[in-house]
Amino acid sequence: MASLIVSGIVLGSILTLGSIGLTLIWGILNLFNCAHGDQMTIGAYIALATVALFSNLGILQGKVGPFSFTWGLLVAFIPAIVVSAILAILLDQWCYRPLRERGIPMIVGFILSIGVAFVLRGIVYVIWGADYYSYSKGVRPTITGLPLGITLRTDDVFIMVVAWGLLALVYLFIMKTKTGKALRAVADNPTLAGITGIDTERMTILAWAIAGALIAVAGILWGIEAQLRPEMGWLFLLPLFAAVILGGQGSFTGALVGSMILGIVQQVSTAWLLPTYKPAVAFMVMVLTLLLRPQGIFGRR
């Protein structure tokens, strides 16, 4: 049980990286971005392509310290983050900005985002096929001698360090800088922020870039933890939405707390249920939230 809770915290850390972007876009654009999961898949596969490139070139093949992956993967974070952030901005410019400019209700954007999700997944399927991939072959070292019979992979420590480090950076940026303050203002009330002289379009682009960068990291980390497959992001979408709804829409803290709860609940549920039920467990959490506290833990009505 203690092991499941720990692996739930690992999963929750990855979920947080995704849910922050989701809640940010939701707050600013009023858009439920159904393509968020598939943007995650794209990020993970860009890193896979980079790792494959290094492997062809025969460089950066050494394993990083006690971890299962190579130096190549560490470098691969950079192109994945950059491509994913640019992709997010382009998607906004091509799909959602025309809606904003023409004053079309953002509910139409939900449908667009579903279309985007299938185009992205189709691209992954066509390029990489339906096979499962891993970033590296071979054993995944575990840390032994932990109390309560906890088994922990060295990779899990890496995942948590990266996720929490990045979250701290994003938190400092959003809470302590002037740009971050403007971003929060737009997320809180776009019209009012616009009146006070904040360039809301620029902030929107910034939000997409942050969301795209974070989801790419989430994709790679989940690829390290589990495996890469074209449906990996789609299966993450329900837990992500559940985490955002549970935490409360538009709330940074809410996204964090909601994601951790979701991660732990999903992993602990495998003690009784088959692991394939995880998306359904996320859905049940969502249903319970909507029944008991529709505005979420940290949400306002």
């Binding site: 299938f118 399927y125 329900l238």
Partner: protein, 321 residues
């Protein structure tokens, strides 16, 4: 013989397109007229198909019982199966509606994704209910003995078209009635509709349930056409998303458009496979079908951005005074 081959291909094409047209009409009630986002059509599809399958088949006996497990087997006629499919699908929609329709639009969308995925996972894992991933086979086909097996699809096409025409005219009546006008008023401006004394929540719920019942009928018709169903069929692509593209292409808020879009997009879907397989290099045949994901997705995005009305578009006036 050649002619017969082409004809039978066209007939199966028309049956599937007509079944999709029924789904598209159901979605049109929910999204086209009321503005409700249902991203979980696949769930109602599956519930309709499985309900009718469990209602119309007998419980397996003898050696078959070792291979096929199903919890229910009522051995009822086809029409009872279709009606049961509509009812169960409607009840499911009512439950989701009670949960989400008082909240903003996005919650319904997310919850319908959730319910569709959960139903698929449930059917896959709970083999006691309906044989798990293998699904149910040998579903009865109505009036099977009436014509020679080679001509049976012609008869089934007639049955499906009868349902399609019936649903189409019923919806046209409904949409042109005061009830339909309230739905459209809610879609345009919920607060105004509420200010006019309409119970917005109740009307939304009715719209969701009516749409879902139509989808349940579509699911049942599909089950008895394919005669074999398994959970893997009811994917987000095949069960939900293609129907959104159909309605959008044809014309959101127009029943004729819903039907037209179903036939057009189903033609694109089924015939593009043929062309794609001709042009892809050898070794890529297994990946080629996924080009259709991109194709259907792009069609949806481009139509929404460039021609949101679709081909036909909504009529400005649906009722004459």
């Amino acid at each position: 013989m050649e002619l017969m081959g082409i004809l039978s291909f066209l007939v199966s094409f028309a049956i599937m397109a007509a079944i999709y047209a029924i789904f598209s009409l159901g979605l049109n009630v929910q999204w086209g007229y009321t503005g409700l986002l249902n991203f979980g059509i696949a769930g109602f599809f599956a519930v309709g198909a499985y309900t009718s399958a469990l209602v119309t088949t007998p419980l397996p006996t003898g050696p078959l019982a070792d291979y096929v497990r199903q919890a229910i087997g009522l051995n009822q006629p086809f029409l009872v199966g279709v009606i049961a499919a509509a009812i169960v699908s409607g009840i499911l929609a009512a439950l989701i509606g009670l949960l989400t329709l008082r909240l903003r639009g996005g919650y319904l969308a997310i919850c319908t994704i959730g319910i569709a995925e959960s139903i698929r996972i449930f059917l896959n894992n709970e083999a006691w209910l309906a044989n798990g991933p293998q699904g149910l086979v040998g579903l009865p086909q109505p009036l099977r003995g009436l014509v020679p097996p080679a001509y049976y699809n012609f008869l089934y096409l007639g049955i499906v078209l009868a349902f399609l025409v019936l649903i189409y005219f019923a919806l046209e009546r409904g949409i042109r009635s005061p009830w339909g006008r309230v739905l459209r008023a809610i879609r345009e401006d919920e607060i105004m509709a509420a200010a006019d004394g309409k119970d917005v929540f109740l009307f939304k719920l009715q719209s969701l349930v009516v749409g879902a019942m139509i989808m349940g009928i579509g699911g049942a018709l599909y089950a008895h056409f394919a005669a074999a169903i398994q959970p893997g069929l009811f994917t987000p692509m095949f069960g939900t998303f293609i129907i959104w593209t159909m309605l959008t292409v044809g014309g959101t808020g127009n029943n004729k458009g819903a039907v037209l879009g179903a036939f057009l997009v189903w033609a694109l879907w089924s015939w593009s496979t043929y062309f794609i397989l001709k042009v892809v290099p050898p070794g890529f045949e297994t990946r080629a079908p996924f080009i259709r994901y991109i194709l259907i997705g792009l069609v949806l995005i481009i139509v929404i951005l460039r021609r949101p009305r679709g081909i036909i578009g909504e009529e400005r006036y649906v009722s004459k005074f």
